[in-house]
Amino acid sequence: MSGESGAQLIAIVVMLALNAYAVLAGADFGGGVWDLFASGPHRERQRRLIADAIAPVWEANHVWIILVVVLLFTCFPPVFARFAIVLHIPVSLMLIGIVLRGSAFIFRSYERGDETQRRWGRLFAIASLITPLLLGAIVGAVASGQVTPPVAGAGFVANYVTPWATPFAFAVGVFALCLFGFLAAVYLTVEAKEPDLREDFRIRALASGVLVFLSAGTALLLSLRRSAAPLMGRGLTEATHALPLQVSVAAVAVTAMLALWFRRFGLARLAAAAQVSLILWGWALSQYPYLIPPDLTIQATAAPWVTIRLVLIALGLGAVVLVPSLWYLFRLFKSR
């Protein structure tokens, strides 16, 4: 293997890790959102189900984002530097969200049955709502191609706020939030043991499925204004992979909704996860070979081959440990 294909491979692993984060940790955030919107006569049971579903796995799910960060700064250092400099503000806010979500969640589960517990629960739920918004906005900012180096004399706002404070980035944030909520609701239909609770989450899944369509449409419309996300607009409409990809996203999305409608919950879970994954890969392909458009490509930013080679070896060895361990974790807590 050469340095070139090695760097490509690592870029693929970065995307896989991001994909895993979205599909797994994304649903944990979505669960927090449903905690916030818990309602009806089964309110407390809904909350209990959400908490029990998240508790054993959220820390493991969370590590995927750390893998993304580590791979970026090891293998594509200029990308990490640009990202961290220009997006300092939304990333810091997202971190505060991550800290509050995780700690409020754990505090709540140890303070059962009183006012304090309710307060921690509220904080957990609100942090779960805000963090995906910011995460989505960060992805949106990168996709929009406006994460460019700060220009001396351009002023604070132009350098550190404008790149991410755009309607498009915000729309992607809302889209991410809807997607995560949708994922969580679909997963919870599978986790729920009692039919009435399952029905609660089926309704929520269907409703948030509609919201996913609407928010996707908004983001897409905004991206077609070339100035907002030129590459993404082009990639989503003109590139050769565009049509098959869009068709498959539509197909899995419709499958997920139909499966929910006909109460085929296992199938719905599969389709929902596939939907999120395909959307992410669609984004990745649309901006290939750029990691941060308009200028930072995989090849131009890749670390030397010594590093890439070692990281590939480490990834291979790590996977040997990781895959069976993860399989065991999920079999233990998620099989039914």
């Binding site: 820390e59 969370h62 580590v70 791979l71 250092p77 971190l95 700690s103 754990i106 990781l322």
Partner: protein, 438 residues
């Protein structure tokens, strides 16, 4: 406040916060596993109860450790993008390996904490062992990265530019061994003795409570040997500094002049302007002896270091003194406890020992913070010793005081919350009267 100072302070606060939870994440699983093993071996139900309660308390601390660690991985870039851009490919290796250690730790932690009723006891115990091993490995890997910052190896430089490098040679920096050993021992000592101190407090009121008796014994089993070994391992660190980071040692000991038969200064406060230490006790030749195991050896002083490359002497000096003072106390208390066990006396009835243990409870953590302040502040003005200055590494974004204040507030509130939740966990501990007193 300058942006650089704000960034340094934010880094310091985030790390000082994280390290407490990280150390607990390293040592607590060992104690939980020992308690559970005892239950499996002897059927002692008190030990099982203890393992469960410890793991409940630890779950809170693990979660806070995980989220504060996440903040750190991003902060490396948010605050020091130029450093990461330079060093990422060189020391990314230990960070990547650390990532895998986090994965196994988080996975088996989930299995351990929530799998009490889903796994056979031995499989459950094995999950605990894996948590303990991966916790120790995460510490080893991240401290290797730090060791490289202190003594960078594995690269060929040409006027500040890297010509070539080898990540494995970077990991093999000679600073790695002393630092990782010292850090691991510190984690076991600090956590073990802190837990012992909490249970000692209960035993002062009820020496016959089997729950706390078991807890004290197990916690000391982890904490005491490590605390006795720490000064020995610290001596290796000190000798390493003497050879490889003379500026740090000179600052720690406020040695302003290079000299043979250098004195060891105990306590005191350095007056940098006058180049002397006030109120310190000097032991002639002591520093030469410690640094080179030779009374007459020459020790490099600050006079050999250009003035603009001096680390903040007072911080380094005070940190070093605090670490040594607390470390000596911890080692003595641990020896005392060991001696009590050797003489087959009942630990829970040695009221003075229990009092000393209560006093010692926070000391390991304070010593660790001091040790890290020595390591990190003593490296200044360098972020990579001799290669890159901290001021060259900082992000160009202005207004860094704002995130500093934000994260400081976050951590202060979080500390209060953790203390409160843990306090409520601990006061609910059970009263189980020991029937067959030894």
């Amino acid at each position: 406040m300058s942006d650089l100072l704000a960034a340094r302070s934010q880094m310091a606060i985030s790390l000082a916060f994280h390290i407490v939870f990280a150390m607990i994440g390293i040592a607590m699983p060992v104690m939980m596993v020992l308690a559970e093993r005892r239950w499996i071996k002897t059927g002692d139900s008190v030990a099982l109860d203890l393992a469960k309660r410890w793991s409940k308390g630890a779950a809170i601390l693990f979660a806070v450790g995980a989220v504060s660690g996440t903040v750190l991985s991003f902060e490396l870039g948010l605050l020091w993008p130029r450093f990461m851009e330079f060093a990422g490919p060189i020391i990314g290796m230990p960070f990547s390996l650390e990532g895998f250690a986090f994965f196994t730790e988080a996975i088996f932690l989930g299995i351990y904490l929530y799998g009490w009723n889903r796994l056979p006891p031995r499989a459950h115990l094995l999950a605990g062992v894996l948590v303990a091993v991966s916790g120790a490995l995460s510490a080893v890997f991240v401290v290797i990265a730090n060791a490289w910052m202190n003594y960078p190896t594995g690269m060929v430089l040409d006027g500040g530019r890297v010509v070539s490098f080898d990540p494995l040679a970077a990991m093999a920096t000679p600073a790695a061994f002393p630092q990782t050993l010292h850090m691991l021992l510190a984690a076991y000592a600090a956590t073990g003795l802190a837990v012992a101190g909490v249970h000692a407090l209960f035993l002062l009121h009820r020496p016959d409570n089997a729950f706390h008796r078991r807890a004290l014994g197990l916690a000391l089993m982890v904490g005491a040997p490590a605390a006795v070994l720490l000064p020995v391992s610290g001596d290796i660190n000190g000798r390493f500094l003497a050879r490889y980071q003379p500026a740090k040692l000179a600052a720690a000991e406020s040695l302003f002049e290079t000299q043979s038969r250098a004195p060891l200064v105990i306590g005191g406060f350095p007056d940098v302007a006058k180049k002397e230490v006030r109120f310190g006790i000097e032991i002639p030749g002591g520093l030469s002896l410690l640094a080179f195991h030779d009374l007459n050896a020459q020790v490099t002083g600050l006079d050999r270091i250009p003035r603009d490359l001096w680390p903040p002497v007072a911080v380094a000096h005070v940190s070093f003194q605090v670490m040594i003072a607390l470390g000596s106390f911890l080692a003595l208390v641990s020896l005392w406890a060991g001696w009590t066990v050797v003489r087959r006396r009942d630990l829970a009835r040695q009221r003075w020992l229990l009092r000393a243990l209560v006093l010692a409870a926070p000391m390991g953590f304070i010593a660790t913070e001091a040790g890290w302040f020595l390591t990190e502040v003593g490296r200044q003005p360098w972020i990579i010793n001799g290669v890159m200055k901290t001021s060259e590494a900082v992000t160009p974004m202005p207004g860094l005081v704002v995130p500093l204040l934000g994260f400081t507030l976050l951590y202060v509130l979080l500390s209060i919350a953790v203390a409160w939740v843990l306090y409520r966990q601990i006061v609910r501990s059970p009263v189980v009267i020991e029937r067959t007193l030894p």
